[in-house]
Symmetry: C2
Subunit: 365 residues, 2 copies
């Protein structure tokens, strides 16, 4: 472990060390298989066991009901940005309602507009996406094709702590950056999807949890790979799935079950970790200025500025020499972004907190 740094990357991001260790141990040959998970047929018994176990672990962690499918697809969130409107909006008389709370929601909307009518029901642009809508600000139509949100915006660091109530309209949620960070009530979602590379696994696999009745909307004329119904009918095996990614998501899910003790426990840890950093921000007399409004703060991505860009550069450079890596904020917000997903150990957050306090003491006023 001595040669590993604390990696605050926004994604691809840190993975649990025990998961990496198991993958490493099995990389030349899975037990009793004689071949690597990278080499076995997706139709083999060995892979089928891995696939089933990954689904079962997710199902158990999130209490996913039987009328939902768990799909493992490729193409990341970007492909979902197109697949969702191609399946749910094409041929619909109603528009899709988009709640824009940051960069990723906006990108999803651009793709949806290629496929059908989109209504923006809330847009945080005026305050550079530092907050979320309150329930009464959301002008949701009762007949829209779906309501779209990103539960956590990595770049801005704002996060829904509960889902908006969309009534009978399917809620579609990009949970790429906070999937599995807390328990959620899946029955409130039509589709919950997440590319894995932030909280659930490596880049290259996307988990799509979709309610069965929505598959009726998928038209036969869609490009095959873009059709949710085809993937659901074939249990993600219509084509060769991203096998290694599925294996890794399965290991992460089992780590959450067995080593963390479930999503309630994980959420507790996540709130504790985020609280440690927000506390420094709140007690520093304005030296660190959080981007997100306090009520909307993400427990996954803590975004903040320093008094000057020069100090920000110094902060980043000295952090790096202390083994605290990849803390640079996205250019659209600037400053610092500490991504502290599930797998970031509390020791890493403690080290960052200590560093922030030291840096404050040496550089304030």
């Amino acid at each position: 472990m001595t040669d590993r740094v604390f990696n605050f990357s926004a994604g691809p991001a840190v993975l649990p060390l025990p998961v990496l260790e198991q993958a490493q141990q099995e990389l030349l040959a899975l037990p009793e298989v004689g071949a690597s998970v990278l080499e076995i047929s997706h139709r083999s018994k060995a892979f089928s066991g891995i696939h089933e176990s990954a689904k079962e672990s997710l199902k158990s962690l999130l209490s996913i009901p039987d009328d939902y499918h768990i799909l493992f697809l490729q193409g990341g969130a970007r492909l979902q940005f197109s697949m969702i409107p191609m399946n749910l909006l094409r041929g619909s008389d109603s528009p899709a309602d988009f709640v824009l709370t940051g960069t990723w929601g906006k990108k999803a909307r651009e793709e949806a507009e290629k496929e059908g009518a989109v209504r923006v029901v809330w847009d945080g642009k005026k305050t550079n996406y530092d907050r979320l809508p309150t329930a009464d600000q959301l002008d949701l139509a009762p007949n829209s094709a779906y309501v779209y949100i990103a539960s956590n915006e990595t770049i801005q660091g704002v996060q829904f702590s509960t889902e908006p109530d969309t009534g009978d309209v399917p809620l579609v949620c990009d949970a790429s950056s906070d999937f599995l960070h807390r328990p959620v009530d899946i029955t409130r979602y039509g589709i919950l999807f997440a590319c894995a590379q932030k909280n659930a696994g490596p880049a290259g696999v996307t988990v799509v949890i979709i309610r069965d009745d929505l598959l009726k909307r998928s038209q036969d004329s869609l490009p095959g790979y873009m059709n949710y119904r085809i993937h659901a009918d074939n249990d993600s095996l219509w084509n060769t799935p991203p096998a290694f990614g599925i294996y890794m998501v399965g290991l992460v899910a089992r780590w959450l079950q067995d080593e963390i003790g479930g999503l309630e426990k994980m959420y507790e840890q996540n709130r504790d970790k985020a609280g440690m950093l927000y506390q420094v921000i709140d007690e520093c007399d304005g030296f660190y200025r959080g981007h997100a409004q306090p009520g909307c703060r993400s427990v996954m991505n803590v975004t903040f500025r320093l008094p000057t860009e020069e100090l920000e550069k110094k902060f980043l450079a000295e952090a790096e020499t202390n083994g605290l890596c990849t803390l640079k904020g996205h250019r659209s917000v600037g400053g610092i972004r500490a991504s502290i997903y599930n797998a970031m150990p509390v020791e890493g957050v403690r080290a960052l907190r200590g560093y922030m306090r030291d840096f404050l003491a040496k550089n304030a006023g």
Copy 2:
């Protein structure tokens, strides 16, 4: 190595042992990075080095000219089946010409037909895809949008040993199952693509080599991820790429360069390996019956039948106990399929040949 079997899987398939060993060694932390290739940002210097090195190795192995882009995409060959006509056929006045030599060409055609006019210029159906067209059987139009072939059909075991001459019409080739098995003249192709999981890496990454002038055909209205021009303009980093897959393809390419000595050498080995098995088929007085006609035999997938299905079952079961695994043929051809891609060691083929001879001696007439 003692716990690894000889894995004749058609895909995902065997990978070079030195590649797996390096990946295993670096899985917890890349040298001087302090984090796994599974955990680092695709915008990081470390990943950029991995990405550039993978492209450079492919460029050097295949002598890819500067007016070609090397893209690393997700979604497998299936997504390419749709992307190709969405980019090259939509809005075209001319049809696409398809040469159907097996299962994968047929599946590609189904997707192309959703996007525009398709002309089947040759179809091997009548003889269950056991042969390829001769040059004079190919009725190619001088103005078609493109000509489509699959260079190797894994299920039937037929393979082009040279590309058909398509003149000024772009040749689009699915090389998923024989990419990097021999040198090819890239200038004869408009697009050469390959999902990695047969000859170049794990499932989840697809290499697309595309000539720059073809990008003009990609329309802005395409779903973002489906647009080749977007991927080329962003050097495969428009979204998070399948980072681990790119890393592995890079390791495989370097193995081909440094340990095998290039594609001429690889091709020599591949022909030798295939020759060992076809020789048994040709000298067994009809006990083993090859599916492919001799002039069209694949050096990647050797497909054959035995006198009865009972004998085939026995052959497979006893092979398994001898550590010769995943030899069952696809149901549409039946019998046996030995996939002997680049990474199948000659020892594996020798062991299979020995087993075939023994089985013949014990079970013939």
